[in-house]
């Protein structure tokens, strides 16, 4: 008898996507609300109460606010991929694994559906982030240039690492608390590892002028993200895929 290939999988896409719907809507609603708030702040800076602020404070606001407006809603849109991964916790329960083994779908298709769903949500988030950045750049009269694109893609990589990594740790330690602690240790380790070589420089600058210290940090990040730009998309895909595949393989190994 000819072997039959595994069954259609659109039901699994529905299953992956539906649990994230509530979080997706909430996240996007908050992101859009933030965009409106930033727009209103800009209006206020031009013709409202904020326009009456003393010169120095207003200048400070005009300098720092565009960054928040361009990046903050975008990070929120991209972070929605976390919603699709939160279902992962449920799926490592033994009974669910028995159910997945009883349906005519291969394990790799099962994992692949998860990857495609997460990747789709992240891609939509990235596009929404770019759209937000373009709109905010136009509102705040900032050039929408390669630096902003590079920074947004770096944020996307960061979000992917946070989401995939957190759930990988969660699976490895089988305890949300232990996963968060381990994850924070790793994250702070990375941050401290970056800061230590620059520590004296930042400290010196901060005593003279705090803004210079902040600028130095931002410059370093911008230089890194610009250099990283060509690698960002493959990196996002690799991180997401690695997270899911590693967890699926580890789960298989535990079963054997």
């Amino acid at each position: 008898m000819e072997k039959r290939k595994s069954a259609p999988i659109w039901g699994l896409f529905y299953r992956e996507f539906y649990p994230t719907l509530k979080e997706l809507v909430a996240c996007y609603a908050v992101g859009i609300a933030l965009c409106i708030v930033f727009y209103l702040i800009k209006l206020s800076m031009e013709i409202g109460n904020l326009a009456n602020m003393s010169g120095g404070n207003l200048e400070m606001l005009k300098m720092t606010l565009p960054g928040y407006a361009i990046y903050l809603p975008g990070v929120l849109f991209m972070a929605e991929v976390n919603g699709s991964m939160s279902a992962f916790q449920f799926e490592m329960t033994p009974k669910f694994r028995c159910f997945t083994a009883s349906i005519p779908v291969s394990e790799w298709k099962f994992v692949g559906v998860k990857f495609l769903t997460s990747a789709s949500i992240l891609v939509v988030g990235i596009l929404a982030a770019f759209l937000n950045a373009a709109i905010m750049c136009s509102i705040y009269d900032v050039a929408f240039d390669k630096t902003i694109i590079a920074n947004l893609l770096l944020c996307a990589v960061g979000v992917s690492i946070v989401c995939a990594g957190l759930y990988l740790f969660n699976y490895l330690f089988r305890s949300p608390m232990a996963a968060v602690i381990a994850y924070l240790v790793v994250m702070y380790g990375v941050v401290i590892g970056w800061m230590v070589p620059h520590f004296e420089e930042i400290e010196q600058l901060a005593t003279e002028n705090e803004m210079d210290a902040v600028s130095l940090i931002l410059e370093d990040i911008t230089d890194f993200s610009t250099a990283f730009l060509p690698f960002s998309v493959p990196c996002i895909i690799a991180v997401l895929w690695l997270g899911w595949v590693l967890c699926a393989l580890l789960a298989k190994r535990r079963e054997k």
Binding site: M1, K3, R4, K5, S6, A7, P8, I9, W10, G11, L12, F13, Y14, R15, Y18, P19, A87, F90, K95, F96, R97, C98, F99, A101, S102, I103, P104, V105, S106, E255, K256
Partner: protein, 292 residues
Amino acid sequence: MANYENAIEIKGLTKKYDGFTLDNISFNVPKGSIMGFIGQNGAGKTTTIRALLGIIRFDSGSINMLGLDNREHEYEIKEQIAAVFDELPFQEMFTAKQLSIMMGGIYRDWDKVTFEKYLDRFQLPARKKCGKFSKGMKMKLQIAAALSHNAKLLIMDEATTGLDPVVRNEILDIFREYLQNEERSILMSSHITSDLEKIADSVTFIDRGKLLLSGYKDDVLDTHAMIRCSKSDYAEIDKADFISARLTDFGAEVMVADREAAKKKYSGALIEKTTLEEIMLFYVNAAKKEWN
């Protein structure tokens, strides 16, 4: 689908873990019948079912389901089987209606109309999240889903555990209806032997990874018997003639595997019918021979 006599054929199934071995398990589930798969907790029932579903790789042996090798023809088999577990294996935010959409996108033969008929029959609300269902309702939902894609084989893993007698009875009635089509079969693993006495055609006992007994339920119940006697009478019973004996302060209960032979040999003794539960208990203690 191939012609076959047995819905499930397990031959020499062996799987070793640290501290536990599923050791050379062989039994068949004839087509059109229901097999009760009995054992205490940790006996190896779930391990056997996991081997059937391909979740674990067994070390040796073979498994045929619906006439096909379960590794070579994995997807053809899985289109035709359904598994039901003691816990709902779906996320609790789904409603029955959404479950139907999901299953329709997985099984080629998913029958939405049949599923809705079962929902009506079980009085399950279609738009309520299944996380808010009672345990009995969750089980009925699983069964409704299992019976709605023309499955020829149901595998039930402790599915009636924790349900009240009314719901369990309702579920057993559904299985009787399901088996009216002789192409269908059920493997039901449970330690609630009273359910299996009501419905099973054949039984297989497993304990600590070893097969103790397998055969038609009526034959097993007819051939086994309990001798209830005083201590003095017990002393006269040959140890080779019985499975094991439960000793009390007042006497002994002795399980024999050959009722007719025991009647002839111990004609003065009180020899009574036994139950699957008692058979399981006495076989589990067979190594000890005497226990209390």
